[in-house]
Symmetry: C2
Subunit: 390 residues, 2 copies
């Protein structure tokens, strides 16, 4: 048996970041920036007024001083002449500051009669001008890799970068296996159940930025699996669910081997989800997950999510664990690292009592997987416990 | 001036949850469940083996006992007869437990010769059987409202619920205003800048579950705004950006009033983003945000996000604030609640020094808005500070 970290490293060695593609800015949110982008303009491109008021020369600004208003500057409409001594320009927020001026007195401190204005309230020392290039300058870089947040999109818009270099979305083919499975909406026979892992994993993988193809359920025959693998061709990652153990009905391993996969079986020191299969298959990577619903989703968080992040070119592919405070005591853990369904609310963690790996109801109530290291002794309440948000 | 909470309450009074629609399970992730869903089957639907082994009667199980194997039960293939005394059935994980048996001895504890098996290792007391209905029973409910996580999708699949009642996505029309703006990809004039708020807010709102329409930029004329409002018809929420203050060029208020809006202007005790305009316009709600890039995005987090959550029917629409530990001292805050761009890493918070509200670069470096209450005194490093993740 190997540790979770060792199994992750083995998986990561099978995978590389995908190539770059360009998408319109409006579709780039959530994607991973694949190349640094560089501003080709300054922001603001000109010195701009940050208030509504009057632009003038700073050395003429003093209480009771009087000026002649010679024009107006509004956002998008610069005043085109040079402002002379004793002159002022009516100016609005966002307008370019006219040549010859370097101070804006806010309108609240001015009294106007016709074209004449007087500074009637103390104007202070703040110029109310944003210097050209104060936000960014030509050459300012937004560094890759990063998953693009709304504020990154706003910044790239402001830089006038409208085609964004992002990592192509990994294509994942999902194959559920087993004669007992039917698809949601079908009528199961008396000894059948509904395929649930496929849909849970699809939602998880799409949330991570993958493009997911749900393939037909592979039955417990070699031919059915061969057909499914055929349909999975061109996927970056093929994920099988179930049938990857070593029982008489576990055909995924033998069939994938016949198709040329150099496979590895890992027995991992973790609960739930001990067995995992992985290897290269053609141009794809195949990962075989356990068929048990909770095991499949937990392995999805622990193994598939970092693999997708690696394919997307991200750096911190194994997320930094969070910590929360246990609200109750926990028994000692066994010899395998245990991912326990738990609920975290405002830093307080409740670990659910029934951790049977068949219970999707308990998983649906969870928003965290509490992580108990192998052979962790009993915990008192109040202890800080690591967890993975789910 | 009113507090942020008072302004939120005023906005929330304008909005109601939207109606229910049904979407296929495969498209339901991230949507908000609008009605409770109820299981119409048990899971597992039958008592099922949790291991590969042999099914037999528990009162016959003891070390060295011998049985005749009378058949096989595999996942999806029940053994159809009744098992008698001294008999056993070969069984695989997920298979229905045959009638007449109530115990599975795992294959590792069995020696088989032809049709005869002997229990050659201590079988223990665990039956290795999952009782029918142990995960959920007919009538088990998944409660609304909830934003559907992958584990909820898996559970509903398992319940064979394939059409999911979700709240319709709010349709948001975004209108940027100002003669100084051009769209990304266009060539700005010397006194123009690129519309960035629209793209940042679009990304944020889509991430919250809205459907966003970006309308053409409204110029600083009444007719241009009237055209934009016409295009916004049928949106649940119209968001204007810029032009909603009270300056000579701020036409959003007067034009919306001419179109029949009962409007309110709020001066809010917050930085950045003091002015906000809101009111009903036809069947829509209109919210006017400040044009300043950082103010618009901060107001998006503080005001638009809860409004969208309310429209989606969620309960906790104003998120519980997180806390992190300040890595450095902070000066006293002024009279307005201050949303400061900050970076939180593993519970440690660094608040950026330059909080000028025109700086998108500072916003792009941030992953949190630290919240300083009005008139908060100076803070030492090590203090716990509330924040909103962004």
């Amino acid at each position: 048996m190997i540790t979770v970290e060792a199994a992750q490293d083995l998986l990561f060695s099978l995978v590389s970041p995908l190539e770059v593609e360009f998408v319109p800015l409006a579709n780039a949110a959530g994607r991973v920036l694949a190349q640094d982008v560089v501003a080709t303009r300054n922001q603001p491109p000109f010195s701009a007024s940050s208030m509504d008021g009057y632009a003038m020369k700073s050395d003429e600004v003093e209480l009771h001083a009087m000026f002649k208003v010679v024009g107006e500057a509004a956002a998008g409409h610069a005043f085109q002449e040079i402002v002379g001594a004793g002159q002022a320009v009516r100016i609005f927020t966002g307008a370019p500051v006219p040549e010859g001026t370097d101070f804006v007195v806010i309108q609240e401190n001015i009294t106007r009669r016709g074209d004449l204005i007087t500074i009637t309230d103390e104007p202070g020392t703040k110029s109310n001008i944003r210097a050209a290039g104060v936000d960014f300058k030509i050459g300012t870089t937004l560094e890759s890799p990063r998953q693009l947040a709304p504020q990154d999109i706003a910044l790239m818009a402001s830089m006038n970068i409208h085609q964004i270099p992002v990592t192509r979305k990994p294509v994942v083919a999902l194959i559920s296996t087993g004669d007992e499975l039917v698809m949601p909406g079908e009528t199961p026979g008396p000894d059948q159940i509904i395929a649930s892992n496929t849909f849970g994993l699809k939602a998880m993988l799409e949330g991570l930025g993958a493009e997911v193809r749900v393939l037909p359920i592979a039955r417990d025959t070699e031919q059915s699996l061969i057909t499914a693998f055929g349909l999975a061709k061109s996927a970056d990652l093929i994920v099988t669910i179930g049938g990857a153990s070593v029982g008489d009905h576990d055909l995924v391993g033998p069939v994938a081997k016949d198709l040329g996969m150099e496979q590895s079986f890992y027995k991992i020191k973790m609960r739930p989800g001990k067995p995992l299969m992985a290897g290269g298959l053609g141009d794809s990577v195949l990962i075989g997950l356990p068929g048990n619903p909770v095991s499949a989703i937990v392995c999805g968080h622990v193994f598939l999510a970092p693999v997708i992040r690696l394919m997307l070119g991200l750096k911190d592919i194994v997320p930094t664990l969070q910590t929360a405070t246990l609200t109750h005591a926990l028994e000692a853990n066994g010899p395998r690292q245990h991912y326990m369904r738990a609920h975290v609310d405002n830093g307080q963690m409740t670990v659910f009592e029934n951790q049977d790996s068949s219970l999707l109801t308990v998983l649906a109530d969870a928003n965290a997987l509490a992580i108990r290291p192998a052979s962790d002794p009993a915990c008192e309440d109040g202890r800080r416990i690591h967890y993975l948000p789910i």
